[in-house]
Symmetry: C2
Subunit: 341 residues, 2 copies
DNA sequence: CGCAGCGAAGCAATCGTTTTCCGTCGTCAT
DNA sequence: ATGACGACGGAAAACGATTGCTTCGCTGCG
């Protein structure tokens, strides 16, 4: 238990201490099919324990030519959406004996490309992209890096649309939003205001399209669609802008994510209006906070933790037969959209 | 740009392609003090670009004997407290060109010890412990692993009390809670109920002690202290239990974290009582949600992102002269604790 | 008693980089 | 013309592991 300063015990040390060869020590300590005699095994294990040996993962990775790493790319880890997702990924990785490294894109495509490239250096087994990507051309750099990654033998999993070498784990944003839209017309709403992210952000576009469709089917009318981002601040300022232009009593505001909707809620209150009865609000994702705000937020439940877990499985399972259909989503009606009589 | 299947370009490939030696290629591509002639440098860089070369970080790590990794240990990444903290850590790591690997302890000491050991295999430059540790003996396993880690030359940073080889980044939980307690007595509260985590969890103990002290100084009385955990569920069930036993109108409930307080808020409402005017509630941390619940939660602001950033700096700065004093904290009075007249 | 057969230990090559050391070459002062 | 010296390219030895192949010792059969 004497700690030699400045450096860890190596396999070599263990082998010497146990009086066996490097090869034998390796086979005992780090999984191998080959059997080694019980007496040797014991000696090696004791030596390892005595020296506090832990295999050097980097060295293992170079020797084996493959690492035990999964890389996760999210837009912002402080956002509860990504937090829950990450929790699922980490849980799965843990089960599989893998380690997760995390990087944040700050929703910047160029930065994302840089990060993918840097992450590539780790030669991870898989790369999970949770940062909502754009469809337009500024995603080209990312696409190229992704291809390079896949060509190297890495697995790429995207939340949302896949394509090419990319495995996709998708949720039915369109369907969920459509169901939400039509549920609202059933509650009596006829006038809607949508707070979305920039055009080209797939998740946002899908939710907007679905909502618009479902709402129109029930004779509702989307009066206005404002574009900002996925943050609380965007929700707040977009809503303030709308309020400035005038928002009729009885309108329902659809925030493209709960975080956005909560920003809107706050703006409505700050403008002296009443969220719920006066101006209704609904979101998407069902983050924990959505239950706790008042009025409680009507939203569409997305099983984020589970989604993260699936993404991880998609990244490591050899035979993976994607989910045929995107995961269906359930509408949760709460008091932020009271029935309109 | 032809992608050789199944394997990435190595430095060797680049060197051959450029017609120079391995050594030269290495010097050009991966930081080195030694100069190489401009003509060579260009050839190598072109070759690298053509082959899409990215250094193999594992191999670099074995060769250099040091990795570019920071390991982060949190209790639960889906918890906004840890999410914000992680954001700060990742931001700092990014600035320093490091990669963050994350592991979650699920608040289980044995698991934590196992994780530290596993993380040790990565030979990270630093290990940041954000999972609130216990003081009692079940932390012994962790302590031993930590020592082994430090003996290896790794930097260990703990949020909260340090000790030994462990660098500490501390916030003034006691002072903040004391200020909160006394602010509440100034608002007219005289009767308090505390919802804490298990005894031995330092953060919780400190906050409870501080609050009790501050509240008592203003002639307040802590009627009851209940122990559970740091989760919303714990807050909810503890509060329900208290309500079952009877809670006087005008009592203030102190949840040892915002998440706990929000659980309590919910329990109060579900029991048909009115949070705020009837039973006041306050928390600690100032997570974003605390602004958005109604009534808005009185709390103590903890600069979590900043704290994560500091922890990272502590992990990588060579000369680090700890903060002499724990970071002072500010009380935020909001409507969940209206003045009592 | 000899030898085939087999199970297991160990030698040595290998993984992709870094880094030390050596040797060459050009420059400049004498 | 010569020699000292500074730059800089390249060969080769690490780094800490894994793994294919050789070797060795033993058992059992003829």
């Amino acid at each position: 238990m004497v700690a030699q300063p400045r450096s860890a015990a190596t396999l070599h040390d263990v082998a010497r201490e146990a009086g066996v060869s490097l090869a034998t020590a390796s086979r005992v300590l780090n999984g191998s099919v080959r059997k080694v005699a019980e007496s040797y095994r014991e000696r090696v294990e004791e030596a390892a324990a005595r020296l506090g040996y832990t295999a050097n993962l980097s060295a293992q990775a170079t020797a084996r030519g493959t690492s035990a790493i999964i890389a996760l790319l999210v837009a912002d880890i402080a956002d509860p959406y990504f937090g829950q997702l990450a929790a699922g990924v980490v849980r799965g990785a843990d089960e599989a004996g893998l380690v997760v490294t995390i990087a944040i894109t700050e929703r910047d495509a160029e930065r994302e490309a840089r990060l993918v490239r840097a992450l590539r250096g780790q030669r991870p087994q898989g790369l999970i992209l949770a940062a909502s990507r754009n469809e337009d051309e500024d995603g080209a750099g990312v696409r190229a890096e992704l291809d390079a990654f896949a060509a190297m033998g890495g697995r790429v999993v995207a939340l949302g649309p896949g394509g090419g070498d990319v495995r996709a784990v998708a949720v039915d944003n369109v369907g969920g939003a459509r169901a939400l839209g039509s549920a609202l017309t059933e509650l009596g709403y006829r006038e809607a205001l949508i707070l979305g992210a920039r055009t080209g952000v797939r998740t946002s576009d899908d939710r907007i399209a679905g909502f618009t469709d479902g709402f129109a089917k029930g004779d509702g009318r989307v009066a206005l669609t404002l574009r900002g981002g996925f943050t609380r601040e965007a929700g707040y300022s977009l809503m303030s802008e709308a309020l400035g232009r005038g928002v009729e009593r009885g309108t329902v505001v659809f925030g493209v994510s709960d975080v956005v909707a909560i920003g809107a809620l706050s703006a409505i209150r700050d403008a002296g209006r009443e969220p719920g009865t006066d101006i209704a609000v609904c979101g998407f994702d069902d983050i924990p906070t959505s239950r706790d705000v008042r009025p409680a937020l009507t939203t569409v439940h997305v099983p984020l933790e589970d989604l993260g877990y699936r993404a991880l499985r998609a990244a490591i399972d050899d035979e993976w037969t994607g989910d045929a259909e995107p995961l269906p989503l359930d509408v949760l009606l709460r008091s932020s959209t009271p029935p309109r009589t």
